[in-house]
């Protein structure tokens, strides 16, 4: 473990979470200990505006976001500004976090891409209409756990790709380069790039297939 690794639990995080889960009007069933710590933190931020949980999310995501933002072509001097904006958006838009549909990192990913696009071009990315869940809908723990399991599987599949495939996938999802730009930079014909991305994705899908019932 290096100094950069996030602590396994936030300082005083567990007591705060437990307290939050007992809070009147809280949803104890919404946050069983089997959820990943990121999901537990995010639910505590969303439902209890828990600052300790938010600080834990900061420790986990801020260094990753900074690496991600710099690789996406934003100058290092501006990178922390973007990290700050993304972290504040996580706090402000927490009510839109729905663990049935997206694991925390996937939700943070699209916030980060939005913020980077805002910085890089005049008009931001157009967004779809939001889905609103009926108020009072009970959380479905099995679906939340399935979304989390898929995210874990994806992450480990990504780390098992060969270096070349992994690099192309990362570049594509970092928005670092368009397919055309990847082609210009690597001297590979566009068809090869596309089929390599497809190969990488197929490999990921194959890994994920074991998850489907």
């Amino acid at each position: 473990m290096t100094a950069l690794d996030p602590p396994e639990t936030p300082p005083d995080g567990e007591p705060a979470l437990r307290r939050a889960m007992r809070a009147p009007g809280g949803k104890p069933a919404a946050c069983p200990a089997t959820y990943s710590r990121e999901t537990q933190w995010m639910i505590a931020v969303r439902d209890q505006r828990d600052r300790v949980a938010f600080a834990a999310l900061f420790d986990h995501f801020a260094p990753r976001l900074k690496g991600f933002v710099i690789r996406s072509g934003i100058p290092a001097a501006k990178a922390e500004e973007v990290v700050q904006d993304v972290m504040l958006t996580i706090w402000r838009k927490a009510d839109q976090f729905d663990p049935h549909r997206a694991q925390v990192a996937a939700w943070v990913y699209q916030i980060a891409r939005n913020r980077q696009i805002d910085v890089m071009r005049r008009d931001g990315r157009p967004m779809p209409e939001e889905l609103r869940e009926d108020p009072g809908t009970e959380p479905d723990a099995s679906q939340i756990l399935a979304v989390e399991q898929e995210a874990r599987q994806l992450k480990s599949a990504l780390t098992r790709l060969n270096a070349e495939q992994r690099d192309v996938i990362e570049k594509a999802y970092l928005g670092e380069l368009s397919h055309q730009q990847i082609s210009d930079q690597t001297g590979l014909p566009l068809g090869t790039i596309k089929s390599r991305i497809r190969l990488g994705l197929n490999r990921l899908r194959h890994e994920l297939k074991d998850l489907k019932p």
Binding site: A3, L4, D5, R51, F54, A55, F58, D59, A62, P63, R64, L65, K66, G67, F68, R71, A79, E80, V83, Q84, M87, L88, W91, R92, K93, R101, A102, Q103, A105, A106, W107, V108, Y109, Q110, R113, N114, Q116, I117, R121, D123, R125, P126, M127, P128, E129, E130, A151, L154, K155, L158, T159, I169, E170, A172, Y173, L174, S178, H179, I197, L204
Partner: protein, 211 residues
């Protein structure tokens, strides 16, 4: 509620997730996703890959003061920008571009009208209005054209397109979309290059019509 049959290709959803699509195409994708739960789920899958990419990034230490700065800002007053909201037949992402105004139709002849929402170096976005039974003049394409139906339906050599459906055309497709009987067909169309309308506007007139 109509059933969508023609969807956004997966590679385009991936590019939208990564934010590398030209703006005009991105509006069409966001609009379709607002209308199609299947593509919303597929987009979610790409965002999950993006999330995994974020998770495995090399970590770069942030400066000492950043965390306390952010924590201090949590209570700062903040007004959320309004979320994209549908306006009549125009889903949120289109309504956002139109800024709640009504369409400003300009006639192209034979009852066909268009409203150019924006034209940029890397593509243009417009609304098309086609009376029932009327054909959009035969045209080829210089680049890729995405057409999404907002009202009514049209048919061409490749099939029928109803509300929510997207047709993707490129250089190789020569087609004649005809609006079906019933309501006038209103579409959202994005191109990454100027269109060549053959029957209607000779090449020289294209700058005039901005098509």
């Amino acid at each position: 509620m109509s059933v969508t049959h023609h969807h956004i290709p997966d590679s385009m959803l991936a590019a939208y997730a990564a934010g590398t699509l030209p703006q005009a195409f991105a509006v069409v994708v966001a609009t379709h996703v607002s209308m199609c739960s299947m593509c919303r789920a597929a987009l979610g899958a790409h965002e999950a890959v993006g999330g995994a990419v974020l998770e495995i990034q090399d970590q770069v230490a942030v400066s000492d003061g950043l965390k306390s700065n952010v924590l201090d800002l949590l209570d700062a007053p903040f007004t959320a920008p309004p979320a994209p909201t549908r306006n009549g037949i125009y889903p949120g992402p289109v309504a956002d571009v139109m800024k709640t105004r009504a369409p400003r139709w300009k006639t192209l002849g034979m009852g066909v009208r268009q409203d150019i929402l924006f034209g940029q170096k890397d593509g243009s976005l417009r609304l098309l209005y086609i009376p029932p039974g009327q054909a959009v003049p035969d045209h080829g394409h210089n680049g890729i054209e995405l057409t999404l139906v907002l009202q009514g339906s049209f048919s061409d050599e490749t099939g029928q397109f109803g509300v929510g459906d997207v047709e993707i055309a490129d250089e190789t497709l020569e087609h004649t979309p005809v609006a079906d009987a019933g309501e006038p067909c209103i579409c959202l169309a994005a191109t990454d290059a100027p269109l060549r309308f053959r029957a209607l506007a000779p090449r020289l007139l294209q700058p005039l019509f901005r098509i």
